[in-house]
Amino acid sequence: MSAITTPLPGSPVAWKLPYRGKVGMACLIFAESAIFTIFVVAYLYYVGKGLSGPTPREVLETPIFYTICLLSSSLTIHFAGKLLERGRRTAFLLSWFLTIALGALFLYGTGQEWHRLIYEHGLTISTNLFGTTYYSLVGLHAFHVTAGLVMLSIVLFFGLAGRVGPEHSARVDVLSLYWHFVDAVWVIVFTVVYVLGR
């Protein structure tokens, strides 16, 4: 039995399989969703179960402006991808930079809220059950935003060095898939923490 060197008969003409980057990212998103699900379940399960204050009703303020920032960054990254595909590099870089700026603004918002909670209301992760679940869920999301910003910035630096072209559009799309996920998770976290949790 020798190695197969000649194709077997009946080979199909067209053979196209999905792009591995996209499949890999989709799997990562499934895994991350499972992690977030557990944290969300813990948050909802523990709502109102804490034995001491402060409670969410007393201290939480809805971060509407920063939420708009984050969600609109999904739009800018989408347009950035389209612009790159058409070869309009400068417009791509501009739109990409805007995405990073909006994401960073959101992070600033989270930081400001935490600062207020810690210094004005004395709520830390060890204060009570609400503090534990709140900081870990919102913190987990903020960590994902940070990781996303790092990756987006790497692309920005390569782009500024003139190394990102339309041929990389498939890879850039994989990254924007991740960013869309981070935004979608915020919709869930926002609903759970600021709407249902109060």
């Binding site: 591995r20 799997c27 895994a31 499972a34 977030f36 699900t37 992760i125 009570n128 987990l140």
Partner: protein, 554 residues
């Protein structure tokens, strides 16, 4: 490239260069071998821990080890065997075989593959470093002793001082990231790297089953990761997730652990099914019976397997609705599993069965897995479980699944694919000796172990009073464990001796039908000189029998 050529190459090179090559490799075959060798080392360690447990329980009022050491032994035995033996060894086989079977040159993400392996490897080292570093500055307990599912509040600072639980947590966290990255890789490889003509409906069952396994890893290991993060927050940042004194819940940890824990059983058994589904047809000289049904049953198991976890928790007092739900799902999962058993029997029915060692292990698997499934259905009945939860009956049941099912298939896989991996056959005589010794030892240990469970012997008990009817049984159970130990030594000797002295395997020693047997043993680095094209489920059959190819009937 023949094995001689490789031997000459490696012999003439300085060992440092060879070592460097293995440490930096991104080749799926080498990583597969690394996974397997690594897991075999931990199998030895986990086996020694099991032996310590059995020596301690061989007679009443024994004090071979202290109670504290006994707690560490069963914790480390369970954690090691699940996370650092079973998972890596199955990932190793998946890594090695999946690309070869679907006609690919490597995994979809070779570097991610290496990353996953090294995470798992360092996770295992971290767990065992606890023996040295666990007591830290406190001088309190070293290795983790909280049981492999580490129920709260045992893991809280008050009850687990020092760092032993932290080593457990971080080892599982790290290896969990490794598992998730490997699972992502397996899925991307199967979906995106198949050779032309390898439709999903033509994939070898091994690839299909590993696809489902990888999907389950993604959905099941992630909750464990999340739960471990919460535990770390509790232990290091003063959080209250599992702290009942501030409103936290110990039950939530149980749910989170078993949402991982039960799918994990299927993560381990599905690749074992995959081995059986490749080996049984080849040694029955018949194609697999009911291929589409096998795939459907596997996917079914994958889905139902995600919704049975709380049958581990009947004894904690859940509502009757919750109990009923998990009773029903647990019983339902027996249906697709039964379908599989019938399909393997259907494959053997009327075949020209060759009882070579791989087939022997698979036949043993069929019978033992059936019994394991039956005791599983017994314990799915909540009232029965209330009687026997946390008894030796449970221990016997899940060892029947893991040893009688998974390990038997794994041994079959070793005998079947060792020729492909090394280019040498494993010795058939030693193989049969290994099989019979292990079979006798296995049944002596785990058949009898059900009975002290029924008589009320709790699991994890350090020692027991004489005269409860447990004495002789425990003695025989321990003897069986030693027989299994001897069988494992025969197996290891076979692995080593055959590597140097075994008969040359050639490309296709079993006259098999999947793509990995079309290339030399061991395969060249690039796997396939030119990417093959397939037209049926048994591409090699087509090649060997051009007058009557399978492709005509599909």
């Amino acid at each position: 490239m023949s094995s001689d050529a490789i031997a000459i190459q490696t012999a003439s090179r300085p060992w440092l260069e060879t070592l460097h090559e293995w440490l930096t490799t991104v080749d799926h075959k080498r990583l597969g071998v690394l996974y397997i060798v690594y897991a075999l080392c931990f199998l030895m360690i986990g086996g020694i821990e099991a032996t310590v447990i059995r020596i301690q329980l061989i007679r009443p009022h024994n004090d071979f080890v202290s109670p504290q050491v006994f707690n560490r032994m069963f914790t480390m035995h369970g954690t090691t065997m699940i996370f650092f033996v079973a998972m890596p060894i199955l990932f190793g086989f998946a890594n090695y075989l999946v690309p070869l079977m679907i006609g690919a040159r490597d995994m979809a993400f070779p570097r991610l593959n290496a990353f996953g392996f090294w995470l798992t490897a360092f996770g295992g080292l971290l767990l065992y470093f606890s023996f040295v570093g666990g007591s830290g500055l406190y001088g309190a307990g070293n290795a983790p002793d909280v049981g492999w599912f580490a129920y709260a509040p045992l893991t809280s600072r008050a009850f687990s001082v020092g760092h032993s639980s932290d080593y457990w947590t971080i080892a599982l966290l790290v290896s969990g990231f490794g598992s998730i990255s490997t699972a992502i890789n397996i899925i991307a490889t199967i979906l995106c790297m198949r050779c032309p003509g390898m439709l999903l409906s033509r994939m070898p069952l091994l690839a299909w089953l590993n696809l489902v396994m990888a999907g389950m890893v993604i959905l099941a290991v992630s909750p464990l990761t999340a739960a471990q993060l919460m535990l770390l927050i509790d232990r290091y940042l003063g959080g209250h997730f599992f702290d009942t004194q501030t409103g936290g819940s110990a039950t939530l940890w149980m749910h989170f652990f078993w949402i991982f824990g039960h799918p994990e059983v299927y993560v381990l058994i599905i690749p074992a099914f995959a081995f059986a589904s490749e080996i049984i047809p080849v040694f029955s000289r018949k194609p697999i019976f009911g291929y589409p049904v096998m795939v459907a049953a596997t996917i079914c198991i994958g889905f139902i397997g995600l919704s049975v976890w709380a049958h581990h928790m009947f004894t904690i007092g859940m509502t009757s609705y919750t109990n009923s739900f998990f009773v029903l799902t647990t019983m339902a999962i027996a249906v697709p599993t039964g379908i599989k058993i019938f399909n393997w029997l259907g494959t053997m029915w009327g075949g020209k069965i060759q009882f070579k060692t791989p087939m022997l292990f698979c036949v043993g698997f069929l019978f033992q897995f059936l019994i394991a499934g039956l005791t599983g259905v017994m314990m799915a009945v909540a009232p029965f479980d209330w009687q026997l939860g946390n008894s030796y009956f449970v221990v016997a049941h899940f060892h029947y699944v893991i040893v009688g099912g998974i390990l038997f298939c794994l041994f079959g896989a070793f005998y079947y694919w060792y020729p492909k991996i090394t280019g040498r056959m494993l010795n058939e005589g030693l193989g049969k000796l290994h099989f019979w010794l292990f079979l006798i030892g296995f049944h002596l240990t785990f058949d009898l172990m059900h009975i002290p469970g029924l008589l009320g012997m709790p699991r994890r008990i350090y020692t027991y009073e004489p005269g409860r009817g447990w004495d002789t049984l425990n003695f025989l159970v321990s003897i069986g464990a030693f027989v299994q130990g001897v069988a494992i030594l025969v197996f290891v000797a076979n692995l080593v001796v055959s590597y140097f002295k075994g008969a040359k395997a050639g490309n296709d020693p079993w006259d098999a039908w999947t793509l990995e047997w079309s290339i030399s043993s061991p395969p060249p680095v690039y796997n396939f000189a030119s990417i093959p094209t397939v037209a049926s489920r048994r591409p090699l059959w087509d090649l060997k029998h051009p007058e009557d190819p399978d492709s005509r009937y599909e």
